[in-house]
Symmetry: C2
Subunit: 397 residues, 2 copies
């Protein structure tokens, strides 16, 4: 197995769980890491929490998505840390140690796929698998200066992966360049249209929601893209406000989280780190009427967004409203960032739509990402668009 010095603290502690390629293929010569909520046969999937690890046996089978990568020639070099039960966005893990953000060492790496992002950003793997329910691939990608994809909900099997909120959960992956991000999609995604014709739709609420220096950096990048892809059209997509969207998303997610994990939590009484603990308490107490209202809102969002994107239009918006919070930031600040962030990530999340984030610059020296959202099923076309956009931006860099 490829020997790696884990200077980012990206991998789960203990013996490295790697796997040689199962065949030669398009990903031959590439290494990858796997978020520790996907099963690799013979190892306990810790899901980021010691009580989970203690109460679960070693996996019998390797998750199909990991198998597909191994069968395509890639080598698995280890399993990476996740926020406990994937229920957090900063990337903190008090049990296994929070991975370092290689691009901004005084800041969080973002989560919940924190170890995967850190491993790729540090060059410990060429790419990494993560999962995304409310932003867990997109946000660490943005924070660590990586390309990241949240694919169409349901497009890729989550068999052999731990669930959090199944109607929102997707796998996802990170890479340092858009070409590899796309090559992974070629292996994992079902067939679909190859090209998006645009236009670009600038989600005004998400831009207004971003910190001014972040918006300015991203706007400069967007202006380069407009030369090739035509003017971005301003769209007020969420007249109800991002905070309303965030709150509906939070309620839907929380109810599902408790439905999925409540029995285990009740039986096991696990110890959770700060933040995660509070979220499980809130999930347990979620008012069914609020979750039901959230599902009605989700349906309205889908009915609103899907027709707009069906013809090939692409939303463009800041992936996150600010760079990664400082490691020294208060919980209060982190919670504010979380709420502001999930109002944006919930757009694709609620609509089951694919979102790709591109690293396009920095704010206060820390990376920030620009996101593009396409209609469900347009993942391949979105990845091709992202590659073309990355080429354009490189020319202007």
């Amino acid at each position: 197995m490829t020997e790696i010095q884990d200077q980012a603290g990206a991998f789960v502690p203990g013996p490295r769980i790697g796997h040689a390629p199962l065949a030669a293929g398009p990903l031959s010569g590439r290494t990858f890491a796997v978020k520790d909520l996907f099963d690799v046969a013979g190892a306990v999937t810790t899901y980021g929490n010691p009580d989970w690890a203690r109460t679960h046996a070693a996996a019998i089978a390797t998750a199909p998505i990991v198998q597909s990568l191994l069968l395509s020639g890639a080598e698995c070099v280890g399993k990476t840390k996740t926020v406990e039960l994937a229920y957090g966005l900063t990337g903190e893990n008090v049990w296994q140690g929070t991975p370092r953000n290689p691009r901004a060492p005084d800041r969080f790496p973002g989560g919940s796929s924190c170890g995967s992002a850190a491993a790729v950003a540090a060059g410990l793997a060429d790419f990494a698998l993560g999962s995304d329910t409310g932003g867990s691939v997109r946000i660490p990608a943005s924070y660590c200066g990586l390309f990241g994809l949240r694919p169409t909900h349901g497009a890729i099997s989550l068999a052999g992966a731990r669930a959090l909120a199944p109607s929102l959960d997707t796998p996802g992956w990170f890479a340092r360049d858009a070409g590899l991000l796309e090559a992974i999609g070629d292996v994992l995604l079902p067939p679909g249209p190859a090209r998006l014709g645009g236009p670009l739709l600038r989600v005004e609420e998400a831009w207004m929601n971003a910190r001014p220096d972040v918006a300015e950096t991203l706007r400069r990048s967007l202006s380069h893209l407009e030369t090739r892809f035509g003017p971005a059209l301003g769209l007020n997509l969420i007249p109800e406000g991002l905070s309303t969207l965030n709150e509906h998303f939070r309620c839907v997610q929380a109810e599902e989280v408790w439905s999925t994990l409540g029995d285990w939590v009740t039986a096991t009484r696990p110890t959770f780190g700060p933040g995660v603990s509070e979220r499980f308490i809130a999930a347990k107490a979620m008012d069914p009427a609020r979750a039901a209202a959230g599902r009605v809102f989700r349906h309205a969002m889908q009915a609103r967004l899907r027709p707009l994107l069906a013809g090939g239009a692409i939303l463009v918006m800041p992936t996150s409203p600010c760079p990664a919070p400082l490691l020294t930031s208060s919980i209060l600040h982190q919670n504010e960032v979380r709420a502001a962030t999930m109002g944006v990530t919930a757009i694709a999340g609620f609509c089951g739509a694919p979102e790709v984030t591109l690293p396009v610059g920095t704010a206060e020296g820390a990376p920030v990402g620009l996101s593009f959202v396409a209609a469900p099923g347009m993942d391949r076309a979105l990845l091709a668009f992202a590659r073309a956009a990355a080429d354009d931006l490189r020319e202007h860099a």
Copy 2:
């Protein structure tokens, strides 16, 4: 033939050119008038100009669109005045007399389908055929407080109708209620989807372009519709500005007008009324490079708008930025209104998209219309939407 007292000055002077129904059908019992650029066998189609009438023989055949209506049970009660060669928006005709606007007698009726709008608004016919190149159905419908449709370009044959700018010309029709507007569509339109799912997209530039009192009246109506159809989402569709769009449209139209009618004008040296004369002089002098730039812009507009509407979204905007100009208004003012109006009508015009206008209120006591634009081919669904919207608005009236 049904006897009619033409108190609106809507019909072309001389013997009334009517036609009995050719069969019983869904339009039995309904009367209609026909803009005098559609042929009715045996009569000279004047195209609104005495030199045109003088140099053209009586039509041998009746236009298929008129035939379809007669075969569906409707009775033709006469041919109605048009602006000369359909090249004008106020509805003035110095040769045949400008029809009165029955809803605002001190104002223009709108054109070029002025007589058709006046006839329906005065109750002289249940509905009327017009044609629309740059707004010639939509604008008189708005000015006279009528429902009006400009269908998808190319969806209905213009055989037996005089051309103005073929890549922009469509037929169209007026009615006093949305149910009849739809029933006519059932007879004339090719099959197509029956339902539009939305969302409503508020074209911000068109709303900003409207006179504040007009925008306020229309906004009140729109707010009633949002209860049923969901919130209208703001869209900046034309970052280049409506004046840019208007200018590109003007150039494309002018070049085509000269290509279509220039030989006749050169050979005949007709006398035109004010406004029309100036427009033909400009059409003759149109710089091919400017028209070519206009066609490039049209292509970009199509590439921008069609994908946005393909999934069932509907643009909503003021049909015209102001009510009909006063009969006493200056030519300068009329030209300003024309430019501001055609920047909005060019949206559907350039994209070949269907647009329906609903009479929803008044400004300064004169009617104003609210327009909805759907994807090309969605005419039937757009008419069904208009009927549902009209029902909703009647409840709130």
